[in-house]
């Protein structure tokens, strides 16, 4: 039995407190009026003294907004209002990105777990309790994301501009999409998805524990069947979720492989966290039967799915870059113009780094190497979600500052607290999984 050590518990609580202060600080620092917003941007420009190429940028920006929002001739006031909205959005967006990112990790682990179950994999049963511990976070994580979405629907923020009726009233495209993109249907979908994911997680966990005490394999077989069924539900719901929760922050833009792209992100982040938690538990003397070959396999997945992510990232980028259709290409134009470093930095972190570090098969067995690569991969995929949400919600006024770091720290703390608390409730090694012997003797 694993006991949640006091040191880790205190560390996670400190992270939560510091993070919560950062989140609150972000909300306090957000401007309340247009005058404050203008002052902030002015002082920001002055303070950094960077050549913002003010004139040219400013004018193109303005004409962009005119087209996008069809605000007609109220140029200046609408621009100022827009700036205020963006600055007000920043703490919300920072909170949302971090909340989604950690929810996505446990959802990715849930998909990986369901695949292991449906494939009746022989190597992984030793890691099932670890995976179940990580998916436990789906309950608080999913509910937090849902609450943020609910607050958006209640107009507490402007993350999703299509929720603003005055915007839709002036926008023919959004009117055309309103049969799908409307607040009620949006929340219903979110509720169905979360209920499905959490429902599967809880049921499968129950069967997994019941299997330990039973004297036949009926729980195992049932788990196999519901996992196969869940994967069908998951692939559809994950895809729609990615359109709803991420793609719709930029409601004019669309990409047909976006669901896969977000899936690759959550899958690789999830597998990375499985490897990290496993290595941590092993370093504390738990999971005695987990050997280097298990870590090797997880690292192979980290390596492979990182390349898969890059493949999708590039496929999406190249087709849009090549066809150069205005309503599609704006997505990348804003990111390359205003987010150059995070945008290309993320490709280096998510592709070059894991490829070069994990290419050698021996390195996949060196635990600290896997941890090091894992940290870079997680940071890279945080940046991925950051790049997906921020350009459409805060525009050029992005910065990795107190709200962003605070939100990440808070959710790191909550994640560690919840996951390790769940891990400590059951023995870390399943006893009666029919494949447990194969898993113990797994060697490469």
């Amino acid at each position: 039995m694993y006991t949640f050590s006091n040191r880790l518990k205190i560390a996670s609580i400190i992270l939560m407190i510091v993070g919560a202060l950062g989140i609150i600080g972000g909300f306090v620092m957000a401007p309340g009026t247009i005058a404050e917003a203008k002052e902030m941007v002015a002082s920001h420009d002055q303070g950094h003294g960077d050549a913002h190429a003010a004139k040219a940028d400013h004018t193109t920006n303005k004409s962009d907004h005119t087209v996008a929002e069809t605000h007609g001739d109220e140029h200046d006031s609408s621009h100022d209002q827009h700036l205020l909205d963006q600055l007000k959005n920043r703490p919300w967006a920072a909170l949302y990105v971090a909340a989604f990112f950690f929810m996505m990790i446990s959802l990715g682990v849930l998909a990986f777990y369901a695949i292991q179950r449906a494939a009746q994999a022989g190597w992984s049963p030793l890691l099932f309790r670890v995976m179940e511990g990580i998916t436990a976070y789906l309950v608080p994580g999913g509910i937090i994301v849902f609450v943020i979405l609910l607050l958006s629907v209640l107009h507490m923020n402007h993350l999703f501009i299509w929720m603003d009726e005055s915007v839709v009233a002036h926008d023919a495209l959004l009117q055309g999409k309103s049969g799908y993109l409307n607040p009620t249907f949006f929340l219903i979908r979110a509720a169905i998805f979360l209920a499905g994911w959490i429902g599967y997680r809880e049921y499968s966990r129950k069967l997994s524990i019941a299997q330990d005490a039973s004297d036949d394999n009926s729980n195992f077989k049932l788990n196999f069947r519901i996992s196969a069924g869940f994967l069908v539900f998951y692939l559809i719901s994950e895809s729609i979720m990615s359109w709803d929760w991420i793609m719709s922050v930029e409601p004019h833009w669309f990409s047909t492989l976006f669901g896969w792209y977000i899936f690759a992100s959550m899958f690789v982040s999830g597998i990375t966290v499985i490897a990290m938690v496993t290595i941590y538990l092993k370093s504390k003397g738990h999971l005695p039967d987990v050997n280097d070959s298990h870590i090797h396999d997880l690292a192979k997945f980290m390596f492979g799915i990182s390349i898969f992510w890059t493949y999708l990232w590039f496929s999406q980028f190249m087709l849009i870059w090549y066809s150069n259709i205005p309503e599609e290409v704006t997505y990348y134009v804003t990111r390359i113009a205003d987010y150059r470093l995070p945008f290309f930095g993320m490709v280096a972190m998510n592709f070059l780094f894991p490829v070069l570090l994990l290419m050698n098969s021996d390195y996949k067995r060196i635990n600290w190497f896997v941890i090091l690569t894992g940290i870079v991969i997680l940071a890279g995929h945080y940046m991925d979600i950051f790049n997906a949400i921020m350009p459409s919600t805060v525009g050029k006024n992005w910065y990795i500052g107190i709200p962003e770091i605070g939100a990440v720290l808070f959710f790191t703390g909550l994640f560690i607290f919840w996951v390790f608390r769940a891990l400590s409730t059951q023995p870390l090694q399943p006893k009666r999984n029919p494949f447990i012997e194969e898993s113990k003797h797994f060697h490469y």
Binding site: F314, M318, Y322, N324, S361, H443
Partner: protein, 176 residues
């Protein structure tokens, strides 16, 4: 030079693995093991040096990447620049996304083909070559361990019998 070798046959890869470990523990040199299919971990158990094929694959990949870059640069930029989809190709870097698939494909192509050719050369394999495996059953369902005899025939026989061999033969071998 002809030498006497002992051939021990096994009919299961797990038994073979255990046998290899026992023979190595007795400090005997295993000449060769013939298998109908690759057995995971056999190379490590036999104490073979790690393969360097992976390193050659990496280098061949780099060659492929270079060839693709030079080739596309010559074809699409230098020799015959065109304006494709409103993107005039006067600079390799600016048109890079369009060339990435080719760079990727040629990297894989060079790595895969040259690695296979290297493997054939290194293993002395070529078309119509006469098979080297001493017994035809090693292409079907038997594993064969070959150990050279140095006046210790009876010892070897006893040892190999104990490891679960299903058949033991002595034969002359012409080393190449």
């Amino acid at each position: 030079m002809a030498s006497k070798v002992i051939h021990a046959f096994y009919d299961d890869d797990d038994v073979l693995m255990l046998a290899v470990k026992k023979v190595k523990a007795a400090k005997l040199h295993i000449e060769e093991v013939y298998c109908p299919f690759p057995v995971h971990g056999l190379d490590k158990a036999m104490g073979l040096a790690p393969t360097r094929l992976a390193i050659t694959a990496f280098l061949y990949g780099l060659v492929g990447l270079t060839v693709a870059t030079l080739m596309m640069n010559y074809i699409m930029i230098e020799d015959w620049p065109q304006d494709i989809g409103g993107k005039p190709s006067f600079s390799y870097l600016e048109n890079l996304p369009a060339f990435v698939p080719i760079m990727f494909e040629l990297t894989v192509f060079f790595a895969a083909h040259l690695m296979v050719i290297t493997f054939y050369l290194r293993s002395r394999l070529w078309p119509f070559k006469e098979a080297e495996n001493p017994d035809v059953r090693t292409t079907d369902d038997h594993f064969l361990m070959e150990i050279e005899i140095h006046d210790n025939e009876q010892e070897l026989r006893d040892l190999l019998m104990n490891t679960g061999a299903v058949e033991i033969n002595i034969s002359e071998k012409n080393s190449h």
